[in-house]
Amino acid sequence: MGLKSLHARQNSLSNTDRQLEILSNGIFENGELPRFIDRIDQKLSPKKLEILQINMGYMCNQVCAHCHVDAGPDRKEIMTRKTLQMCLDICKNHRISTLDLTGGAPEMNPHFRWFVEESSTHVDDLIVRSNLTILTANKTYKELPEFFAKHNVHVVSSLPFYSRNKTDRQRGDGVFDKSIKALQTLNALGYGQPNSKLQLDLVYNPAGAFLPGDQKELEADFKKALLEDFGIVFNKLYTITNMPISRFLDYLLATENYEDYMRELVLAYNPTALENVMCTNTLSVGWDGSLYDCDFNQMLNLKINGPIDHISGYKPEINKRSIRVSQHCYGCTAGAGSSCQGALNS
């Protein structure tokens, strides 16, 4: 597995058209599997907008093998303060209950602290998706746990597994030990502790070409192992299905798992999960202010349908659009379903 982004490797998949082509050809073209749009047999539309998910930039201190953002230290796409201000105005003027900050590593955006300070009082839930290792990276970032606690930030952290081997295989050597250290720091500040308002959730995604197991069972396993081995506590575990896009698509193709993985996703199609897919209550903002139905569509450069596709023109009416789908959407509807908030039918 290369330690550089597809972008840096000039891999053909860094071209999103190429990804969409792969997702539309082959088994979806020869009739073996139904295209997502035919399978759902209806138009998918947003319901009430509850979550504004902001991608603050693709820069990251890690280069995880499965990353759907193709993030890494070489990525220079970073959201400007001007665009962040527009997001802030939307939170102030429209009732958005949840703000979900993601990246890359959102903490690496130079306006991150300013934005958290400004936005935390305007939403009920301010989520920061932190990869944990950034919190141990250097002096600047080491103060972040206290900063998070001060602003009542809801920390959602990826930890692929409760053992060193599986975590490091997916995320790189040394990631597990640093993540454990960061979790202990957060715990010491009250994060994840019973009766504390400081929420700490973990995200699990499978380390390979298979679907995640039952969210409740895995949560129980994680809680037991992390407590026994490291004295760590947390609130919830979200299981997330790896989407067949970007670096994970590259992995699927390179290991000849692509077709079987797509067959598994299609076979596990769950109509109940479709009711609650993330795009029905979330709007995703790209680093340059472009609007998408979700973070995955953002990575495929599928901007929202309709005349307004930039945050500068935001109007609540855009909620009447139809959502742009392709075969990667099967990742959201397989089994118990999957979203940035974990399984949909748990």
Partner: protein
């Protein structure tokens, strides 16, 4: 005729068994699913037992299914291999313990 007896995609057709005898097929799957629910043993422990037995009965479908089940449950490869060794040890032990029969017969018939 097919070139191979076993095809991986046939595993997904297991449920079709009910097509030719719904009543017995349904009874089997109901029983099967109940067996694997958490009880006195956890679903995780049952999955590892199933993996070991799959090797003992040498069923490629079961090995495929319970390796995947283990991956989804976060069972480590070291745990999987130990389970397979437990199955192998019992199977080889079962063969070897019959050596006692051989010894008994040998000694009874020999002067």
């Amino acid at each position: 005729m097919e070139k191979t007896y076993y095809k991986p995609q046939d595993l997904k057709k297991f449920g079709d068994i009910t097509n030719w005898n719904k009543e017995l097929g349904d009874k089997f799957f109901e029983y099967y699913n109940a067996v694997f629910e958490s009880g006195a043993l956890t679903a995780r422990e049952k999955s590892l037992i199933a993996l070991a037995v799959s090797h003992v009965v040498q069923c490629p479908y079961c090995i495929d299914a319970y390796t995947q089940d283990g991956l989804k449950r976060g069972i480590e490869k070291e745990e999987m291999m130990e389970a397979v060794h437990v199955g192998a040890a019992i199977k080889s032990g079962a063969a070897l313990v019959h050596g006692v029969q051989m010894m008994n017969i040998h000694d009874k018939l020999s002067m």
